[in-house]
């Protein structure tokens, strides 16, 4: 994308792409922490994303709450949903956890379809992002806000991962037996990390809804969950930077592939397959390892 940057900066199409990349990246870094650090799989992340979008939209539109407040409330609701999902899922591992989260995501989708305002058709005229009377009208403003939030969450995540809770999460991934012997509250940690990733997804969902101003259940399906998973795996699961990079690539890729017209789905699938086969550890870990080895060689 670097080739295209200079002459595109004041192009609102490009800015919109950046907004969607940023929104996806917020979900992806949450998923990275959940999967890469804590080793929990989620095939239901679109569910939390959807809760964030719907809850915030309804609260701000029907109840007239300020957007910021409704986003925070939505995050709380998602967090509660995460506890409800996580508590019984904790005994499950691998495929079983995957199918439990998948079921959760699908149930959320069905609930939105059946009971969401507008049903399957969705609903519109959702208030735009605003804070303290200042309404964000242009895409450029929204892009700043989205990437600003992304940056803050990134810093938050890195801080967290490099301190006590982050180490505990990675330890959980390594050996649960040893974690118990070290006195770690395994159950609590797992619930907390689920909540954390749900809150990230919820914030992203709210941003999406307030930016597009129209939402329908079709944006919050299993396929979106799989796509999110793809971002994380492609970018590299072991670091939150991987989530960021993967989200940007997966968001931009279909746009880049438009030149292939009808064949784009095919090319898209092929690129994904090849990347998974040859960039198995994910782009970010591979690139950092490469840079690392280059530096080492130079120093030697």
């Amino acid at each position: 994308m670097v080739y295209a940057l200079p002459n595109l900066t004041d192009d609102s199409y490009f800015i919109t792409l950046m907004i969607f990349s940023g929104i996806n990246a917020i979900v992806a870094i949450g998923l990275c922490i959940l999967m890469g650090s804590a080793g929990q799989v989620s095939l239901g992340q679109a569910g939390f994303y959807g809760i964030g979008a719907y809850a915030s939209s309804v609260l701000s539109q029907s109840f007239g709450l300020p957007v910021v407040i409704s986003m925070l409330c939505a995050a709380v609701i998602s967090g509660i949903a995460a506890v409800i999902l996580a508590a019984p899922s904790l005994r499950l591992k691998g495929h079983y956890l995957a199918v439990a989260t998948l079921g959760f995501g699908e149930i959320i989708h069905i609930i939105l379809n059946e009971f969401g305002p507008g049903g399957p058709s969705g609903f519109g005229d959702i208030p735009a992002l605003s804070a303290g009377g200042f309404v964000l009208t242009t895409p450029a403003h929204v892009a700043w806000v989205v990437w600003g939030i992304l940056l803050l969450l990134m810093i938050f995540s890195l801080n967290m991962l490099n301190a006590r809770p982050g180490r505990a999460l990675r330890a959980l991934h390594g050996s649960e037996t040893a974690c118990n012997a070290m006195g770690l509250d395994v159950v609590g940690l797992k619930i907390k990390v689920f909540v954390l990733s749900a809150v990230y997804a919820s914030i992203a969902g709210s941003l999406y809804a307030h930016y597009v101003s129209f939402i329908s259940p079709s944006s919050f399906t299993l396929f979106h969950s799989v796509l999110l998973l793809m971002m994380v795996v492609l970018g590299g699961i072991t670091t939150v930077w991987g989530g960021l990079v993967g989200a940007v690539i997966i968001t931009l890729l279909p746009e880049t592939l438009k030149a292939f017209e009808e064949l784009d789905v095919l090319v898209y699938g092929l690129i994904l397959t090849l990347s998974l086969l040859f960039l198995r550890r994910g782009i970010v870990p591979i690139v950092t390892a490469k840079i690392h080895s280059l530096l080492v060689r130079r120093n030697a």
Binding site: F156, R164, R170, N180, G183
Partner: protein
């Protein structure tokens, strides 16, 4: 410090432990020995809470811990190592120790993410403490290596170091010498004694290596087929008929 009273455990019809009692005195360096299948590891797992006993009770520092979770037991000051090494393989040596500091620190998700001032001081303190532990187990030069890259002997040391980081009052060592060569075993023995005497940590050692046990422990309990057959000072145990018979079946009793 630790009272094990009338513990029994049956696994699918096999009596792994039958009515076993023993105690570990404060400040002692006790050992639990016995031939293969005697029930030593089962006893370790029951003490540390991995599974509950069928009968009997265990008290630690005056409180009953029989049905507590492993984590709760660890938080009361009872830490352990594993026969099959359970390090956090993808984390560095220093990070492994730092995980051990978990229960001795308190910064949560929010505080850590926001990097509140107290988090920073706590992190610094933990770091200093961990480096000190690394030095005491001779791994100070390898702080940033991945745990999985260490040789076996150092991995065992690291497990002990990680357990030390929780500042335990009782340390359970589950076959720490397994797989080590003679020199490594000798160093290990010295270190265990040092922990016992200098840091004043009570130690319960489960070990195969009779030589090591006889050399360093102050009191010994012997299990065979799930039953306690003897306990006492090393010199007494070495002369005990039952013990010799028990070991003759499988191992060389000369040590």
């Amino acid at each position: 410090m630790l009272e094990v009273q009338n513990i029994s455990k049956v696994f699918g019809g096999v009596h792994a432990l039958v009515d076993v009692s023993f105690s570990v005195a404060e400040g002692s360096l006790s050992a639990l020995i016995g031939p293969n299948g005697a029930g030593k590891t089962t006893m370790m797992n029951i003490i540390s809470g991995i599974f509950p006993p069928d009968k009997g009770s265990i008290s630690f520092k005056g409180g009953v811990i029989t049905r507590l979770s492993p984590a709760a037991i660890a938080r009361r000051g009872l830490s352990r190592t594993f026969q099959h090494i359970e390090l956090f393989a993808e984390m560095t040596v220093l990070e492994n120790i730092l995980v051990g500091r978990y229960i001795k620190s308190r910064s949560g998700f929010l505080a850590a993410g926001l990097r509140l001032p107290f988090v920073r001081t706590e992190e610094e303190k933990n770091r200093a403490k961990s480096l000190e532990i690394l030095a005491s187990i001779g791994l100070e030069g390898k702080a940033d290596e991945l745990a999985s890259n260490l040789p076996l002997g150092e991995q065992r040391m690291l497990e002990i170091g990680r357990a030390l980081a929780t500042e335990p009052s009782l340390l359970l060592l589950d076959e720490p010498a397994a797989g080590l060569n003679i020199r490594e075993t000798r160093d290990l023995g010295k270190m265990i004694v040092r922990l016992n005497t200098e840091r004043e940590i009570t130690i319960l050692l489960v070990e195969h290596d009779m030589d090591l046990v006889m050399r360093i422990s102050t009191s010994i309990t012997v299990l065979n087929f799930g039953q306690k057959i003897a306990s006492g000072k090393p010199a007494d145990i070495q002369r005990n008929r039952d013990v010799i018979t028990a070991y003759l079946g499988e191992e060389d009793p000369s040590c």
